[in-house]
């Protein structure tokens, strides 16, 4: 890919985001059985949650590459940047979910299994960020946080099996549900699919920027 195409990518992303927002408000119809316009938050909430998971898996991937792939500092930065962004997207997914819950369930927070699971996952990655700030030595920090991120992929999936048993859920069926039946109006599905794609691209772009910024900060620190 040449330089001018690379420069055009952020503009393409901008256009994609604009289209997603337009689609969410003006193209997609309202879902039945939702109060007022509240179903439109779906096109922000679901892709944000999706991107948070992409980010956490990206972090685990780069952590494994760091440990088994020659201990390159850039792999550590890629993992750290992914966790930071995953945390950001996760918090935004929680906030958008709460706003919707206030309208539909009349309370911002009611320990629905989905709300519980995301809080537990965010707690884990909050601890990851605490670990990073607690270790001064760059190499040791990279090693320890890579190990911790990999413990995360072993431990956090348990939440999604355990928590739904403990409390009843009012959360709408996931898009990919148990009986593999797509229960969604076609235009809504188009906007949602486009949003998945665009938000993932947004994450990759932000991830690239954040990793490069971290590399510059490290270089400035070293001088």
């Amino acid at each position: 890919m040449n330089a001018s195409m690379k420069r055009a990518l952020p503009y393409a992303l901008w256009l994609g985001m604009a289209l997603c927002i337009w689609g969410a408000f003006f193209y997609a119809p309202l879902a039945a059985a939702f109060i007022g316009q509240s179903s439109r938050i779906l096109f922000f909430h679901v892709p944000l949650a999706w991107t948070a998971f992409i980010a956490f898996f990206t972090a685990a991937f780069w952590s494994a590459v760091y440990l088994w792939g020659g201990r390159k500092a850039r792999h550590d930065r890629a993992a750290a940047a992914a966790v930071e962004l995953g945390f950001l997207f996760g918090v935004l997914a929680t906030i958008t979910g709460s706003l919707w819950a206030r309208i539909m369930w009349n309370a911002f927070w009611n320990w629905d299994p989905r709300q519980t699971s995301i809080v537990l996952v965010l707690l884990f990655y909050g601890a990851y960020l605490a670990l990073r700030s607690a270790v001064a030595d760059r190499e040791a920090r990279a090693r320890f946080s890579a190990v911790y991120a990999l413990i995360g992929v072993v431990v956090t999936p348990f939440f999604f099996f355990i928590v739904p048993r403990i409390t009843e859920s009012l959360h709408p069926e996931p898009v990919i549900n148990a009986d593999r039946h797509l229960d969604m109006e076609a235009r809504m599905f188009q906007v949602l699919l486009g949003s998945f794609f665009t938000y993932t691209a947004l994450f990759l772009w932000m991830h690239n920027l954040r990793s490069r910024l971290m590399a510059l900060a490290e270089r400035a620190h070293a001088d």
Binding site: A127, L131, A134, I151, R165
Partner: protein, 228 residues
């Protein structure tokens, strides 16, 4: 058994024996976790009274309280196994003496035996002080065994991490609690079932799966923590 396996096992057993010998000389962790657990137990029991008399409240509250006591007792005592090596400057010698996975296995066996011993002391006392009946004693014992082991396995790996970092004691709690949360949720659920006389359900296999995955992750990841 090949000679590599037997020497690995010998190293693990040696680490286990060394830790217990050190422990019996100072009795630091033993005293810390036993006294911590008994003190919390007495405070809880004297402020709540014999809660077990009210069945519905007992089933909701008491299992959670028991596991919180065990969690904090583990957090008070288990990190000691690794912090001690740093304080006594013995970790370099230990790195030469045993392969990392054998060292982890030895430390884990030590932590698990310490915690299971604590449970053997605390659980009967807890049932007696809270006048709590357990209709399914087999399930209760299995939960204590699997839960205690998992608590030790998760704590050992995190203790190794935290002992090498700044602010060890606070960092351990911050790092360990999110990792131990699934275990706590499962152990509390199973203890509730045991107290209510209900079957174990899918939670027991899940707890065993948690134990197995944390053990495997520990054996695989510990060498990265231990060797620079």
């Amino acid at each position: 058994m090949s000679s590599a396996t037997s020497s690995w096992l010998a190293s693990a057993v040696a680490v286990f024996a060394k830790d217990w010998r050190c422990e019996l000389r100072s009795r630091y962790a033993l005293h810390a976790i036993a006294l911590f657990a008994v003190t919390t137990l007495v405070v809880a029991s004297s402020s709540l009274g014999p809660l077990g008399a009210d069945k519905s409240q007992a089933v909701t509250v008491l299992p959670a309280l028991l596991w919180l006591i065990l969690l904090f007792a583990a957090a008070a005592g288990l990190p000691r196994a690794f912090v001690h090596e740093e304080e006594a400057h013995t970790s370099a010698a230990l790195r030469l003496a045993a392969p990392p996975s054998a060292l982890f296995a030895g430390k884990l066996a030590y932590g698990a035996s310490l915690l299971l011993g604590l449970e053997a002391l605390i659980a009967p006392l807890y049932l007696a002080l809270m006048s709590l009946d357990v209709p399914s004693p087999g399930l209760f014992a299995a939960t204590l065994l699997a839960g205690g082991y998992g608590l030790a396995a998760g704590s050992s790996l995190i203790a190794a991490l935290a002992s090498q970092a700044r602010g060890r004691s606070t960092l351990f709690s911050v790092l360990a609690f999110p990792v131990l949360l699934p275990l706590l949720l499962l152990a509390i659920e199973l203890t509730r079932n045991a107290v209510a006389g209900q079957p174990a359900g899918v939670a027991l296999p899940q707890l065993l799966l948690y134990d197995a995955s944390v053990t495997v992750a520990g054996l695989m990841l510990f060498p990265f923590v231990w060797n620079p």
